[in-house]
Amino acid sequence: MVGFLVGEALRDLRRAGRVAISAIVLIMLSLAAVGSFLLLSGNLGHAVSAWRDRLRVIVYLKQEPSTAAASALARKVEAMPGVAGVRYVSRAEALASLKKTLGKDASAAEHLTANPLPASLEVTPTADAATPEGARRLVERLSALPEAEEVAGGVEWVDKLARLQRLVTLVGLGFGGVLGIAAILTVTTATTLVLHARRHETEIMRLVGAPELVIQLPLLLQGMVQGLLGAALALVALAIAHAFVAPKLVPLMAAALGLGRVDFLPVLQIGAIVVAGAVLGALGGLLARGRVAA
């Protein structure tokens, strides 16, 4: 029976011909649009979380404390909420690391008569303090320390990146949604044609007492086949685009966002695209059936 139902669905698809093909193409376009925005958003997400991990809040101290005072201060800060870790950086250490950063330009630092750098605490926020609101509160608490001269570091720009990521996702979903509606309507048209082409079969099925399910399922199936084909084509197109574009994009991404690679969609999203295709197709099939029944 399953073989029969699938056979009928494929036969119907052939009969719908060009309209079915445009439905498949539209489903492919809408899912490819959603997919490419998901791809972009996913990689931006990687950048955001990579940067969140690297996020530090620096507390510049008024004076260099004694070793004992420094470790006491570090322990005090470590006990504050929102703090995952603290590292004390002495003035000498700060200068050494500046020289290291400057590399061959370090000679510039050699000309310094005195060390201009203050001692500082390098505070790693906990994950929940790495949000703009959490970070603001952490900065407030750290600024209240009597030893603190100035507190630097915030998460505003990481947050901007996160907002960009959300925007990209929304634009993708909106874009895909509009195309998806067009796709559903096209599947509906294709299915209406199928219903017309199938009217003799449907009549005979009813007249010989076929169960309603057997009469309706091929319609649903041919819609789903259109959707699945569209989804498969969209994924193939995305994979090809990714294979070609990603290597060219890596240097740019590395420079701009510190991202070493451009990933393809995670398995879950690939699955979601396939399911979305099947649902779009089935919806089109169902709508056509409703239209004819009405």
Binding site: G3, F4, H200, E203, L207, V208, P211
Partner: protein
């Protein structure tokens, strides 16, 4: 097997009422061979449609295979039709499928096991003498062949009741007789037959019980 009790059917075409059947009552017992005769427009097809329930009576009660049809659910209608073979006046062969596929189609939609389909389809084709034309498409068939294909489809599930609407329709006598012989054979196998025809020659020549319809009224029942 069949019982009609004071059945009337009125079609409404806009404001116009067309009485197709008026106050028709009769019974057909299991195993009978009954001819339904009447001129064109007398109401033969309408009467058959009431029996396989594509039409419902305006008045009166219809019983088929021991079942009153009045309160049949959708499922009940499907179950009823599975036990009735119908040769439609317009054959209703699917144009895109071969003779074989047309007949196998009925078995497939009703979930017959795959292994039985070929054998049963060919049994039906042999019964009507059409097995050599199994691969032909309906457009490639003569009228007589098309009627036999329709007949094969009606009997492929070995129904208890066969309703045949003008199966000898526009055929010459020789072809008509061939089809009649096939229906006689089916009757001999135990199937109850209701055979509608406008041809007086067949109605009297068959020497069977004849119901005569005139303008929707049953005017003669020699049973």
């Amino acid at each position: 097997m069949i019982a009609m009790d004071r059945v009337s059917k009125v079609f409404s075409v806009g404001p116009v009422k067309v009485p197709a059947l008026t106050d028709v009552s009769f019974r057909v017992a299991k195993g009978e061979f009954v001819v339904l005769h009447g001129k064109s427009g007398a109401g033969k097809t309408t009467l058959l449609k009431l029996l396989y329930r594509t039409e419902v009576p305006s008045e009166g009660d219809v019983e088929v295979l021991g079942q009153p049809l009045a309160k049949l659910s959708r499922r009940g209608v499907a179950a009823l039709r599975q036990n009735i073979g119908v040769v439609f006046q317009d054959a209703k062969l699917l144009p895109g499928r071969t003779v074989y596929e047309n007949i196998a189609f009925v078995l497939r939609v009703l979930g017959t096991p795959r292994g039985e389909i070929t054998a049963r389809t060919f049994d039906a084709l042999r019964a009507v003498g059409l097995h050599s034309r199994a691969r032909a498409y309906p457009a490639q068939l003569s009228q007589g062949e098309a009627q036999r294909a329709a007949l094969a489809r009606a009997i492929v599930r070995r129904p208890a009741l066969l309703l045949a609407d003008e199966p000898t329709g526009n055929l010459d006598d020789e072809m008509g007789n061939e089809i009649l012989q096939v229906i006689r054979d089916i009757h001999a196998g135990g199937t109850t037959i209701l055979f509608a025809t406008h041809q007086a020659r067949l109605a009297t020549g068959l020497r069977r019980r004849v119901l005569v319809l005139e303008a929707g009224r049953l005017v003669k029942d020699d049973g």
